[in-house]
Symmetry: D2
Subunit: 297 residues, 4 copies
């Protein structure tokens, strides 16, 4: 399975009652499908997967599988705290049409999530999964940076095909590419802010929150790098950092959804305890995206 | 509701298949009920609540309600990541016999869990709950230390009656007691290591993992403080720190369960991804508890 | 040497040119000497020792030795990054009249400051020092929390007589007292916020920034505890937390100096890069001290 | 002043008595001068500047100025905790022959080192300095990551010509390049591990501990990037990460010096409290460098 390319980790559209709006999902897909994405990540951090019930997760995935063209990869977030739950959810996601599963590090008992525990968890999940597994390290949410030695060890498992790294340590990304080469293992950058650097170090693609709202530009960065247009790629990368930071680190999922509302997609409310962006935050986001567009010229 | 006293946050006994063993739960209660606990916390961090499915949580709570004498308070961990799920779980826990609900800070989207979001979450939960709410701050697991100003603001809510603070910042504990006095608000220490200090600063009780295994001694510390025997209390507190650290910070839930197996209770396996203590860890734990008993003289 | 009691870690008074003002030092001592302090700490963190040149440090210490009554202990901060420099400074401080030296953990190469390196450093210093050594752990400044095992090991050195712990982990403080008992080793709390809790766990005194400005009240807390008046002590402790936090964690040395200016002592400017408190910060500090005084009734 | 190129932050050679060995310095320069370095950084973190006395610093710099060819830039670490000391040291360094000064963030009072304090410090230093200033952010040592907005603001000062960033956040590096373009401001990567990524984002050179020992290879990476040979550059970068990590994050300055001893340069002892690498650490380092050489083919 060739993972090369850009994936938006799609936001989950809610109505005012915080229930999933299939209608708004369809509207967003009508726009997203125009981009040259390699596929979609469903139920990643930006999909508020931590707030979704199991049946909602399955329903959403099935719907996405229908809305996305056949040739798009559907990668499903299936990680739970318990290994047994992760195994079951991965299996259900596969039945619902997922091409691969993205499995986040368990994190509540972080003091005990040493290398042995993490390797054991991922190995059990990969052993039993009907679809390939992609490891997922997102320390800003979990407080755990999947150790590089774990990734290297796990890369030799035949059913573990890659890692999404959202930590942004470019030395780690380079070292993972280096030490897993020959294992049919692919590295995906977990954010648009370090996408170009990741490509240069050997990553094959990116799962980028920003692609929810600036899908065309993120795909363009991928394309420019593929074509060896490094100077143009650098300039575009430079310009993407500020809007990307705004809709991730600074303002989170609510900020991402607010930016979508501004840019012609449907963002809508988040689920509580996440709160809508304040007026002040929205003004800041608007200013950043306006500056970006001006730049884009 | 007077919360004064000691509560073990009970471990959930599993068989080899990682399923709940009601039989072993009964065995443990036969021993726990001999102590002068104020009550039991069900589905706290040490109960591996993060690994339990909703129906398991309810079943376990109902069973505990049967096994515990009527006069023991049953405090149920009902916190979920989503506010809506927390509200529903709290309601179900109340129906199943919980006297109060212990609600942990949501934590996955920690970058967005500012004071406003946390206050809003707890307020919604408290507004709709049929039973009183106890706030729960456990930064070692969640990465979030519930801000002291949040606690103070929330303490005036008529349905929020206290906080369990496992962070161990004794200045914070003192300040919370000070600023919430007059609000019918009670502070519980979240660990035996700082129990005496918390009492001196005005806490009324403790939810102590160590009480699973050294229930008598933790209750004795409570008693000594109540009787004003500060010198004896100090000595006992000194002796409890090392075993307490072993079964919490150092070796986690698996260490706690291992110590129970050693001391005549049922600990048994943890759920994966938590792993059983290694032989080396068990030797260390055994040495620490042996030294403690010798001390206890 | 009996260390029991309260020590202000005295601020260094500067004129507008940032040079030491001996005149202002004398003014402050005229007031400080009225309190029942056990002694003075010179060149601690609040003395801006990190900004002082070696000759300034010696001059200041000599002056303090003259200004303080004979029976007051003078404890001199003599820690430097290099062991050789610490040894020399300790020796010079002794010659200038220090009764004991307070030696902070070196911290610039924190990645290498493991237990072995720290024990080796303190042992070398203690071996060669003409005066007793007090270990000093202040993680908020150094990023290093002197490991409890180091303290226990070092406590058996005949020339190491105690530790000032500013980290505030009350479990660590209790454990240190417990494991060093019998070694003629004394524990000092490094802040007024956890002074009472430290006493209850077995500390003998406190080095408290707040004693620069509220010397009488901090000494009173010591006295109340000594007399077994725990309820009064608790109330006073509660009231001291907020002003103490303001002049340490929240507003730092500049805040402490601002509060002194407000309360009839000389605070004056800090050395750059520390900046004077802003107008807004000063208003906040003033409000906190005003509320405290009202309380004090 | 064009800063483009590679600089080793040279280690300070000590004899067994921990005194500077000029002879060993000369031996190292005889080898270093064969590489195509752009210049040398004297008294950076790897030069154990935190352990050096002012006169030693000046002596060492003067000596380096003699030993280095005229066309090599000499960049002198002149940062001290106090602004006044930094100003004086910068001036003395300039007189002793430094071409530019590398000024680290003050860090002891980290709670007060906000953007305003840092900007004020660097501005004062730059205003009075006879030579250009390069900002220096090294959070692993200082606990402070110089905020990107500070760097951007300071980049417009006519006497501040660049920044050495050792934090390794590639998004920050890209954003700094982007927002300081047009200000005659140059960004240097602070470590060989993220050198290639930094170049691609617009950095002009690197100050790399690893260049002390693998000077030729680090210069080669610079050269490959300049020539647009990205695939070869990537491979070399991959191979440099592990040895670089060993002599920085994992084993620190002692590890770097040990590797120099192995590779035909003079490393020698560190100053206490830094301790020589243990036998086990040296075996690990030797294995890593041997694997690297084999690779290098």
């Amino acid at each position: 399975m060739d993972l090369s390319g850009i994936y938006p980790p799609i936001v989950t559209p809610f109505g005012k009652d915080e229930n999933i709006s299939v209608e708004k999902l369809e509207e967003n897909f009508a726009k997203w499908n125009k981009h040259s994405f390699r596929g979609y990540v469903v139920q990643g951090s930006n999909g508020e997967y931590a707030f979704m019930r199991p049946d909602e997760k399955i329903m959403l995935l099935s719907k996405v599988r229908q809305l996305a063209p056949k040739d798009k990869l559907i990668i499903a977030g299936s990680g739970c705290e318990a290994t047994r739950d992760t195994i079951e959810m991965t299996s259900r996601m596969a039945s619902a049409g997922a091409d691969a599963a993205l499995v986040v590090t368990p994190c509540f008992y972080k003091g005990s999530m040493n290398a042995a525990a993490l390797e054991n968890h991922f190995t059990q999940v990969a052993d039993s999964s009907p679809i390939p597994i992609i490891l997922y390290s997102v320390p800003a949410n979990t407080g755990i940076d999947l150790p590089v030695e774990c990734v290297i060890n796990l890369s030799s498992h035949p059913n573990i095909i890659g890692v999404k790294d959202s930590g942004g340590d470019i030395s780690k990304i380079g070292y993972m590419v280096h030490k897993t080469s020959g294992n049919n293992f692919q590295v995906l950058a977990g954010s648009a802010s370090f996408l170009l650097a990741s490509y240069v170090l050997g990553a094959v693609g990116g799962v980028c929150a920003l692609a929810n709202v600036l899908g065309s530009e993120v795909c363009q960065l991928h394309q420019l790098y593929q074509e060896g247009k490094l100077d143009e790629a650098r300039l575009l990368q430079h310009k993407l950092i500020l809007p990307n930071t705004a809709v991730t680190k600074t303002y989170g999922v609510a900020g991402l959804k607010a930016s979508m509302d501004m840019m012609g997609l449907y963002g809508g409310p988040t689920r509580s305890p996440l709160m809508r962006s304040t007026q002040k935050q929205m003004l800041d986001i608007a200013g950043i995206f306006k500056e970006f567009e001006g730049f884009g010229g």
